[in-house]
Amino acid sequence: MSASFHDPAEVERMVEALLFAAAGPLSLEDLQRRLPEGADAVAALQAVRDRYAGRGVELETVADRFRLRTAPDLAWLMTEEREEPRRLSKAALETLAIIAYHQPVTRADIEQVRGVSLNKGTLDLLLEMGFVRLRGRRRSPGRPVTYGTTDLFLEQFSLATLADLPGAAEMKAAGLLDMGVPAGFEVPDPSRAEDPVDLLSLDEGDDDAPEFAQDFVGEE
């Protein structure tokens, strides 16, 4: 702020910052009003226009107002990959949470905890994203397939091992488990969960788990 408000170079910097941060195009009046008294907005605008001419970002005039925008010839760089960042739906996140804590779980287990039937797409999405894998079959009537989490899941959530999943104590510490926690409420420790019986390879007698997985995924 030591530089004079009337130093043209300083005013140019101000105009540059104002245009960059503005929520929409600014008129000359807008600029003048926000600049210090006596600053020459017209000269500054011209200086900004010259400075940015031919650059990747340019000054554009729309209906007597001014804004910075990317150079039109670089539009291909912008438009080609216009897509939303990948966001997990609420249902997907909830399903993932149940699988993580209660693994190995069957589809029926998940539905029982969530209290709603599981959308087919939800589990498929989690499998496709690589967060969830087929773990085996439970030795119970119908021999239902069980699900568990993958290494990618650990990576996504920066966990060294499944034992690092926060437990009930941390949920309480984070203020999540507050009131109305039933007496018997327990958060299972998935690292202790064992299903020695039903590893896929044991079950099918061959090591080609992916093939089995394909069978399964296509089945429904």
């Binding site: 941060a21 929409g24 438009t79 990959e81 897509e83 990948r86 109305g180 958060v187």
Partner: protein, 274 residues
């Protein structure tokens, strides 16, 4: 001792007018800070390197602080008293002549004093860190990214936008929902049919004229006992039984209209069971 000794927060008004003199009690703490914060504030008044701090003087200042706070009837958290006790103990050990034989147990008082000074230094370091962080250029306070939301091109990130915290929240919200599903509603208290029948029999002599069912049924208590609906329903059921027994007549002018009851003039003799 009053229970509020144990309240976790305490609030002091800043003693604005306190003198600059070193001994003056400068109370300027908010509710979220503990005795260590007070000690740090007092230590600063000694204006020396924290490691060269006079612990005996610090102990005196702290005890004076605690006494003053209590004199003014400020409720004081237990934390403050524990620290006061410990400081008084430390001070006495520092002042007592060293016994001939080495202390039979526990660390040397000088070591304890140094440990305290070190803890104060650590806290002081974090105090400085807060100040340093506060003056950093902060997004949307000091520095601004591009402001035009219309023109913004979303550059996708390959990463999935979910944190471990999100996962915990998702998990807990479901498990607590589940807990709610297991909730069993309170049993509804009903007006027993037997009671309704007995009551209606007792009322028969008074039902010479047509009387509305709602008038006949008992009034519900607003806070306890069966609901009004239960009283009406049970009384209706009982009245139908009495009609069947020939003791009562009932009529209703139209659907959903009030039902009227009156005792029957001529009928079968009452058969009271012994």
């Amino acid at each position: 001792m009053s229970a509020d000794l144990f309240q976790s927060q305490l609030e002091f008004e800043a003693a604005d007018g306190a003198a600059e003199a070193g001994e003056a009690l400068m109370v300027d703490i908010d509710g979220y800070e503990g005795p260590l914060h007070v000690l740090l504030m007092l230590a600063r008044q000694q204006k020396v390197d924290l490691l060269k701090l006079s612990i005996t003087r610090l102990a005196e200042q702290y005890l004076a602080f605690v006494q003053e706070a209590r004199r003014r009837r400020f409720s004081l958290a237990a934390d403050y008293l524990v620290m006061a006790a410990w400081l008084a103990f430390l001070k006495s050990r520092l002042l007592l002549p060293r016994p001939e034989r080495p202390a039979e147990k526990g660390p040397e008082p000088e070591e304890m004093a140094a440990a305290l000074a070190f803890r104060l230094m650590k806290l002081e370091a974090m105090r400085k860190a807060v100040e340093n962080l506060k003056v950093r250029p902060q997004l949307k306070r000091d520095v601004f990214t591009r402001g035009d939301p219309e023109a913004q091109v979303v550059i996708p990130s390959r990463q999935v936008d979910a944190t471990l915290y999100d996962l915990m929240v998702a998990y807990v919200s479901q498990r607590t929902k589940e807990a709610q599903r297991l909730y069993t509603p309170m049993a509804v208290e009903a007006f027993p049919l037997d009671d309704a029948r007995d009551r209606l029999r007792d009322m028969l002599p008074r039902l010479k004229a047509w009387t509305g069912l709602r008038t006949v049924a008992p009034r519900a208590h607003p806070d306890a006992g069966p609901s009004q609906a239960s009283f009406v329903a049970s009384t209706l059921s009982a009245s139908l039984e009495l009609v069947k027994d020939g003791l009562l007549e009932a009529r209703q002018l139209d659907a959903f209209e009030e039902i009227y009851l009156r005792s029957r003039e001529v009928g079968f003799p009452l058969e009271l069971t012994p």
